[in-house]
């Protein structure tokens, strides 16, 4: 057993950290304030290979392992969680299901430009009546000649509007419940495919979250992803791996807030001592550090299993719920350590605390993660 990162991982962390600190951190506050989507940074991420970390070189990916992916999302999220989820949703929720379920033609046509960052991806699963319970999917797909005709809408779609390629799910046979759900690849610009409401959010405000609207959208039959009725499985497998991205995002948020609190506690003096000299602060910092380390081990363990092509569901659920709860505890404590300053937008911990909350909600709430874990334990 070896807990050391290898030489590649160390170099990747340094590269992504340098890029994050030099290019992403300076505008993060401003982008959050104005809900400004960072298209320029997206482009740079593509040039650096951050948009296709885990995909094989034959599809223009980097061909690196899941730990490299976790490090990427973690380091971006350490300074800007919005950018972290943009890359995570693109990679885990759009490129990955195409990689795992797509035909060779679909991979050449869609995965290649997604991996290079030439195209951005998004995933449309959630609907107003289908959140944690996908069987409530009301968007319909009907076969008509060589096309499928899609009607309905999706909500809360990360990268919506900006993405070029969407993996979406629709119901083909309501009587079959989850087994009627089917997945498709949909291109932006297809007639009848429009964007509805842009969400105004509490956190990750510079990431884009849109409603997708389908009115008689015709998708060619070759864009069926997997088989008819396999869409629920596509979604569940996608989310099993997607959780690694969100767990890494949560880990990065926690790490960023902890470092801010650590730095501040060494500089700020009250009653003639630095905050770090008070045992009450030391205990807070120790708790933050140990929770982050525990979360990191869980995340990297899930990554290890994913890289080894072993079952990942239980471990990615554990990593996600633990890292998300860690991010919420740590950012709250970081604001507490910074006191009044922490509550203002002059320091980034305020944004980090708002950003942390979503990690307990999207890609499976903490409650759903516990169901996944419990089901897995009880099945054994």
């Amino acid at each position: 057993m070896n807990f050391d990162l290898n030489e590649d991982h160390i170099m990747m962390r340094k590269m992504v950290r340098d890029f994050a600190e030099e290019e992403c951190a300076p505008g993060a506050e401003e982008r959050d304030e104005h809900e400004e989507f960072p298209l320029d940074l997206w482009k740079k991420c593509g040039e650096l290979g951050l948009t296709g970390v885990t995909f094989p070189e034959e599809y223009s990916g980097v061909g690196a392992d899941y730990i490299s992916y976790a490090i990427t999302i973690e380091e971006l999220s350490r300074v800007d969680a919005s950018l972290g989820v943009t890359i995570s949703a693109h990679s885990s929720l759009c490129a990955n299901p195409i990689f795992k379920f797509g035909t060779e033609e679909q991979k050449q046509k869609y995965l290649v430009p997604l991996a290079t960052g030439e195209k951005m991806g998004a995933f449309g699963l959630t609907e107003s009546m289908a959140g944690s319970d996908a069987s409530g999917t009301r968007t319909t797909a009907v076969r008509d000649g060589n096309d499928y005709v899609i009607n309905g809408s999706k909500i809360f779609i990360t990268n919506g509007y900006y993405a070029d390629i969407y993996v979406i799910t629709a119901q083909m046979d309501k009587s079959k419940g989850n087994r009627g759900i089917t997945a498709f690849i949909l291109e932006k610009g297809t007639p009848g495919f429009t964007f509805g409401k842009k969400e105004k959010k509490m956190g990750i405000r510079s990431s884009a979250t849109y409603e997708l609207v389908f009115e008689n959208v015709r998708i060619p039959a070759e864009n069926l992803l997997g088989e008819e009725g396999q869409g629920f499985k596509v979604a569940m497998v996608t989310l099993d791996y997607g959780r690694i991205g969100i767990a890494s995002q949560a880990l990065g948020i926690a790490q960023g807030a902890y470092e801010q609190a650590l730095k501040y506690s060494k500089e700020r003096s009250q009653f003639g001592k630095t905050l770090a000299e008070f045992q009450v602060t030391q205990f807070k910092l120790a708790d933050m550090a140990l929770q982050i380390e525990a979360a990191r081990l869980l995340v990297y363990q899930a990554c290890y299993l994913a890289s080894e092509h072993r079952p990942v569901s239980k471990y990615s659920a554990m990593a996600k719920v633990f890292a998300a709860e860690t991010a919420n505890k740590v950012t709250t404590q970081a604001v507490q350590i910074l006191g009044g300053y922490g509550y203002t937008r002059d320091y980034p911990v305020e944004r980090m605390m708002r950003d942390a909350k979503i990690t307990e909600i999207y890609e499976g709430t903490s409650e759903i993660q516990r169901i996944v874990i419990a089901n897995s334990i009880l099945k054994d």
């Binding site: 030489e7 590649d8 160390i10 170099m11 990747m12 340094k14 590269m15 340098d18 890029f19 040039e47 650096l48 290979g49 951050l50 970390v53 070189e57 980097v62 061909g63 690196a64 490299s68 990427t72």
Partner: protein
């Protein structure tokens, strides 16, 4: 166009310098990086290669850890690397460094040799220029702008109070000043490819040098840390009186007047 880039692994500029019990600089646990000026040299080499083709070969002297810096530069896009790692090289002076590098560089085809204008650790600014002398080729230091043609280079270099434009024939040694370019980040695919690139670790014997060939000309007697900064002094009271007191202190205590 074949380019050789001399790089040195140095302490991170934010590293805290501590002396060990033998009065030597403690390097354990210190974050090591490519000397920032050498990064400009690497970037410039890659730009020239993009324009003319050819090969960029890195050369460095140092311990095993220097391989990390060479791998990073390989990940940025350089083609291969040579590390001269020899126990006899514990404290080489600038003269010895230049002699050794010249021997090693002579085995590599080159049109241009690039290096940083200074290393941020010892700050001697000598090795690259000495290397040119040993190789008997011209050198231009402190380059701010470099344009290369088939057989010549046009260099804008920094001089006191201005710049100087120099045209020089190849082969040439050029040292990079801050402002020459903005070094690229290594890319993810670059990092993956770096480990498959050639990184040769050689000893002095491999380039036909024995330690006795290199009698050290400069000997470091002692290393000491600068005195820690003392806090400032506040002079209270009315302005006129405080100014008088300030003048007295500057004259009698600080002895600067």
């Amino acid at each position: 166009m074949n380019i050789v880039v001399c790089i040195k692994q140095t302490f991170d500029t934010e590293a805290k310098i501590v002396l060990d019990s033998n009065g030597k600089i403690e390097s354990n646990g210190v974050n090591l990086v490519i000397n920032p000026y050498d990064e400009f040299a690497v970037e410039e080499a890659l730009k020239i290669k993009e324009k003319f083709g050819g090969e960029v070969t890195l050369i460095s002297m140092g311990g095993a850890r220097a391989q990390e810096s060479l791998r990073t530069a390989l990940a940025m896009g350089c083609d291969k690397a040579v590390l001269i790692n020899d126990p006899a090289l514990e404290n080489p002076d600038e003269w010895a460094c230049a002699e050794i590098l010249a021997k090693a560089v002579s085995q590599i085809p080159y049109d241009i040799i690039l290096a940083g204008r200074i290393a941020v650790d010892d700050g001697s600014s000598q090795v690259a220029v000495r290397l040119a002398e040993v190789l008997n080729i011209p050198s231009v230091s402190c380059a701010l702008k470099l344009e290369v043609e088939e057989n010549k280079a046009t260099v804008t270099r920094e001089i006191d109070g201005g710049t100087e434009l120099i045209e020089v024939s190849l082969p040439v040694v050029i040292t990079a000043q801050k402002g020459l370019n903005v070094p690229r980040y290594p890319t993810m695919p670059g990092i993956m490819k770096a480990k498959k690139k050639e990184l040769k670790v050689i000893t002095l014997a491999d380039i036909g040098i024995s330690a006795t060939d290199l009698p050290i000309k400069m000997c470091v007697q002692k290393i000491s840390l600068p005195n820690p900064r003392k806090g400032g002094k506040k002079i209270p009271g009315e302005a006129a009186e405080a100014a008088r007191e300030l003048a007295r202190l500057l004259r009698e205590e600080a002895k600067v007047l």
